[in-house]
Symmetry: C2
Amino acid sequence: MEESSSRSGENLLFLTDEQLRKGIEAMFFAYRGFTADPDRILATMAYGRAHHRAMHFISHTPGTTVNNLLSILGVTKQSLNRVLRTLIEDGLVESKVGARDRRERHLFLTPEGVSLEQRLSDAQRKRMRAAYRKAGPEAVAGFRTVLESMMDTNLLQHYHDERSVRQ
Amino acid sequence: MEESSSRSGENLLFLTDEQLRKGIEAMFFAYRGFTADPDRILATMAYGRAHHRAMHFISHTPGTTVNNLLSILGVTKQSLNRVLRTLIEDGLVESKVGARDRRERHLFLTPEGVSLEQRLSDAQRKRMRAAYRKAGPEAVAGFRTVLESMMDTNLLQHYHDERSVRQ
DNA sequence: CTTGGAAAGTCAACAAGACTGACATATAAT
DNA sequence: ATTATATGTCAGTCTTGTTGACTTTCCAAG
């Protein structure tokens, strides 16, 4: 409730409860817009947002293992497995037994998987590009800065680990 | 980062597919962090994110009707009703028959509801405040600008309508 | 070499929370 | 009186999360 704390020289207007509340609502509405387009496409098939997320990260890091994907997505392996199973059955994802460790499964998108993933992320990129263009490069830099501070760094550890090892 | 600004007059580096992909992933990870704290609290009771959202907007716009809430939240009435019913049963939300139009129900938080809502949004504000403070006022301005461009303005129509009428 | 634990992945059953569709009730508007 | 609106409810489905139990595989200690 310390609204007028801008007496100490710095302008801290952006830290008032009202500003924070607006930021919270902006996150809610923006995230809904952010997922709306791919969701519309996915609704026409038997897939959901979870399938999109899995395909996104497989596309980005081909050959990733189920365990890596679990850490990145932050769900249980049983939950991911259901999604993965349908994607594999439908020929969008391929699962290859690991050469080094035969317990591991390395995941890749098939050409059909690449095609759907592109269709989905094109829709998402289109909206993101429009927002970026409208806001301008400086706003985009600020956007990224705040988002990065908002992430739960603990949950992200695996993501960075995995990429540095694998690339 | 911004190596080659303005070669054709404008710097469009921030619109490359790779930058957009990073923005998309940042949204995903940040939103997860954004909801993590209230989710942890909610998990200890019989409530979920849907209850939090309902209480947030009732708190912000006391006396709002069920229909207004439906438009803002973008869910079906059956879905909202399930949430609302439990909140009313548990004494967190009060539903008053409209004076002007007795078909309408006006929604308010009870003292208990206010208490829980505060506990939840305090957790969320805390993280948002930390992110804002770390990023600084200019980044925050950019953050808000991009988020506002990313919202689906069609879906938000009701929100603004309702607030201008009601305040 | 064997054996026992740990790790990776799969299967089954269940719950939350979204959805649709049909229907009921009360009230308002025409 | 009839029609439209606001809300609430029942039944059934879907996605996506959960826990628990299981198999296969690897590895390391005896």
